[in-house]
Symmetry: C2
Subunit: 240 residues, 2 copies
């Protein structure tokens, strides 16, 4: 049965689908940037790092474009129930943009690391990075499939990334204490690890937005809470 305004409704929906595709494309770019950044750390490849840093601008530009287009769509006066979808799209695009920033930061610091002799401590960074990459890919799939359960699983796995980050952080501190000559490169590695830990937080944000998209403001199920009762003396504080 043909509804009144069928043509307008349909083209609004097409526009929505196009925007969803754009956001997922952004997400794919951010995941590829992270993968590439982890590779250049291992390969000590300054030229490739420079390309990653330059590529970040494309993600930034896409985020600006997407949020502009999402808002234009909102101004067409959709029904109130679309509010959730529009808000989620804006927030997810912004989280993807931040993931891209952090990946570019890892690449940037890799070129600084390359000024010093190779350190054996980059292996732990790669393990951490692969965990983060898994979270990013899986949460984008959850968004694509409108799958709140899969999103919730990503949210739970962030605790694993945090534990890995804590281990790496402490390990790096011991190297710094043992040999003052590695303090500067290990400082880079500390910040790189922090960047990757933050990527996990943004994947978690996206997971929460997928949940919100599917279930609205219904309370999120509890997740394994990082034990922060005795973190005050710990150097690897979980930050926001």
């Amino acid at each position: 049965m043909t509804q009144p305004h069928d043509h307008i409704v349909k083209s609004y929906d097409e526009e929505r689908q196009r925007l969803l595709g754009e956001i997922l494309r952004m997400g794919g770019m951010a995941a590829a940037q992270l993968q590439a950044a982890l590779d250049v750390v291992e390969r000590r490849d300054d030229a490739a790092a420079a390309r990653i840093i330059a590529n970040d601008e494309a993600i930034d530009a896409l985020e600006k474009e997407v949020s502009h287009d999402v808002m234009k769509l909102a101004l067409r006066g959709p029904m109130a129930r679309d509010l959730r979808e529009i808000l989620a799209a804006l927030r997810i695009a912004s989280d993807i943009e931040r993931i891209g920033d952090y990946a570019a930061n890892v690449a940037k610091r890799s070129t600084a690391l390359n000024q010093a002799p190779p350190l054996p401590h980059t292996r732990g960074l790669n393990v951490l990075g692969q965990l983060a990459l898994g979270l990013v890919r899986d949460v984008l799939d959850a968004y694509r499939g409108n799958d709140a359960t899969a999103a919730q699983r990503v949210r739970e796995r962030d605790a694993e990334l945090d534990a890995q980050y804590t281990g790496l952080f402490r390990e790096l501190l011991t190297y710094m204490m043992e040999d003052a000559r590695v303090i500067t490169p290990c400082t880079h590695l500390l910040f790189m690890a922090k960047n990757i830990e933050r990527i996990g937080d943004h994947a978690t944000n996206i997971a929460e937005n997928v949940w919100f998209l599917v279930h609205g403001d219904d309370a999120l199920p509890p997740r394994e809470k990082r034990d922060e009762t005795n973190t005050v003396a710990r150097p690897d504080l979980n930050e926001n």
Copy 2:
């Protein structure tokens, strides 16, 4: 002369003004949090730090509320020229929320610092923090007054904050090299300095959104560019 729909237009405008007020209130809260965080570092006051960390939730909740209300306003179908204002409001609220996060992180790390004997190195952090606080306050004033010139001045002053950050970072590294026992507390200070440097970046983002609000997509005037040509060996890399 009375326009048609005068009542609706007026109440839309009232709603806009109310939201602007909310965002500025959020900004005031974030600035107060930063001020309080800098104070607790000096006073080594764990209880006050815990209050700052708890207060951050209020800013987070306000950001969610504001972005929700801004979108509801957008859905009322304003004219296309309001798009800029709505986008700027969403982005500025999000930058303020991040500033609040970074202030809470500084407070969180201050309690970690308090587990160790006092260090003389917190003075530099305070100088850095006061510079950042000045940027935050001035950019909120620029937003309040719709003043693109004042916003542009804030943007230029971020280079000063970056220079101060670089100096502090290098200073902290030398302490770590001289005495392995201060490596852990100095790592906290490095991350605290980084948090404050990031606050400057978010103040700059807000400044750019004020410019966008006033001038649209007209190109921003150039600003003093951080010289990154020889930063590769520098431990204080400017990140995104």
